[in-house]
C-alpha cells in the first residue's frame, strides 16, 4: 500500500467516526459541528484525489456557510433532541 492509500484510509475512518458521532448526539449544535468536521476531511480528500477546484468549494460552503445556516435554524427551534 502506498502512503497515499494509507492516508486516504485514515481520513475515511475519521469521517465515518464523525458521522456516527453526529447522528447519536442529542445536543444538535454538537451534531452540526460533527457534520462540519466531515466537510473539512472531505475537502482534504478532494485535494488528495487531485480535485482542488471541488476542495475549495467544499471548504467554503460545507464548513462555513451550511454550518451557520444549520445553527440559525437550531437557534429558532429547540437545541436538544427529545
Amino acid at each position: 500500500m502506498s502512503w497515499l492509500a494509507v492516508l486516504v484510509l485514515i481520513l475515511v475512518i475519521i469521517m465515518i467516526v464523525a458521522a456516527i458521532f453526529s447522528i447519536t448526539r442529542k445536543d444538535l449544535i454538537v451534531a452540526v459541528i460533527g457534520t462540519s468536521v466531515i466537510s473539512v476531511i472531505l475537502s482534504a480528500l478532494f485535494y488528495l484525489l487531485q480535485a482542488p477546484d471541488v476542495a475549495l468549494t467544499e471548504a467554503a460552503i460545507g464548513v462555513a456557510l451550511s454550518t451557520i445556516i444549520f445553527v440559525i435554524a437550531i437557534k429558532k427551534t429547540d437545541r436538544y433532541e427529545e
Binding site: 477546484d53 475549495l56 468549494t57 467554503a60 462555513a64 456557510l65 437557534k75 429558532k76
Partner: protein, 226 residues
C-alpha cells in the same frame, strides 16, 4: 421491525454501491470526450486550467443555468424571510480578541476570494469558489459585529450588473462568432493573466454575482434571529 428492515435495505444498497465503485476505473485510461478536452483545450480556448475551460467555454450554457438557479434560490429565500425592519439585534459584541482578529482577517479573506476568481483560468478555482470565499469573510464580520449590516441596494446592483455582463458577453459570441458564448476575444499567451479571451471576464462576473448573492442570503437569515 422497521429498524431491522431499514438496516437490511441499507446493507443491500451499500453492497451494490461498493461493488460499483470497486470496479470503476479510476484515472487509468483517458478516452472519448475527456481525452479530447485534455488534448485540445489549450489550443482552442487558451486557458491553462482545463476545468475552467469546460465550465465556462464548452459548457458555458450550463453555467448560466446554475447561476440562474442560485439567483432564484436567493430570491425565494428573501421573499419568504426578508423583514424590512429586522429583529432588533442585541447590542452585544464578540470579545475583543475575536473583533481584532476578524478585522485583520476580513481584508485578507476578501483578497483571497478575489484572487481565486481573477486567476480562474490559470489556477484551480473560479467564480463559484471565489464568491463563496468572499461570503465566508462577510460571515466573519457578521459574527463579530452584531450591528454590521449589508447594503441590500448595493448588493442588488452588483448582482444585476454581473448577470447582465455574463449574458451580454455571451450574446457577443452570437454577433462576432458562431454560437452563444463563443470565445471571440484574442486568446493571448497561455499562462498570462490577460489571456483566454472571454473566460476571465465571465468568471469575474460570476464571482461578483455569487459573492453578492450569498452575502445577501446570510444577512437575510441572520436578521430573523435576535
Amino acid at each position: 421491525m422497521r429498524k431491522a428492515v431499514s438496516i437490511i435495505l441499507l446493507a443491500v444498497v451499500g453492497y451494490y454501491l461498493f461493488n460499483v465503485f470497486l470496479n470503476m476505473p479510476f484515472g487509468e485510461k483517458r478516452e472519448g470526450v475527456g481525452k479530447y478536452y485534455l488534448e485540445n483545450t489549450l489550443d482552442e480556448t487558451g486557458a491553462v486550467n482545463t476545468v475552467t475551460a469546460i465550465v465556462v467555454s464548452y459548457r458555458g450554457f450550463d453555467t448560466l443555468g446554475e447561476v440562474t438557479v442560485l439567483f432564484l434560490a436567493a430570491t425565494g429565500l428573501g421573499a419568504i424571510l426578508f423583514d424590512k425592519r429586522g429583529k432588533k439585534r442585541r447590542h452585544q459584541y464578540a470579545s475583543l480578541i475575536v473583533r481584532v482578529t476578524s478585522n485583520m482577517l476580513y481584508p485578507m479573506i476578501v483578497l483571497l476570494g478575489a484572487y481565486v476568481f481573477v486567476h480562474g483560468h490559470l489556477t484551480p478555482g473560479g467564480g463559484f469558489q471565489g464568491g463563496s470565499i468572499i461570503a465566508t469573510g462577510v460571515l466573519l464580520m457578521f459574527m463579530s459585529y452584531r450591528k454590521f449590516e449589508a447594503n441590500h441596494t448595493a448588493l442588488s446592483v452588483i448582482e444585476s450588473l454581473a448577470g447582465l455582463t455574463f449574458v451580454t458577453v455571451g450574446l457577443g459570441g452570437l454577433i462576432y462568432g458562431s454560437s452563444f458564448l463563443y470565445n471571440y476575444l484574442p486568446l493571448g499567451q497561455p499562462g498570462d493573466l490577460i489571456s483566454a479571451g472571454v473566460i476571465p471576464i465571465i468568471y469575474i462576473a460570476v464571482g461578483f454575482k455569487v459573492g453578492a448573492e450569498l452575502s445577501g442570503v446570510l444577512d437575510t437569515m441572520l436578521k430573523t434571529i435576535r
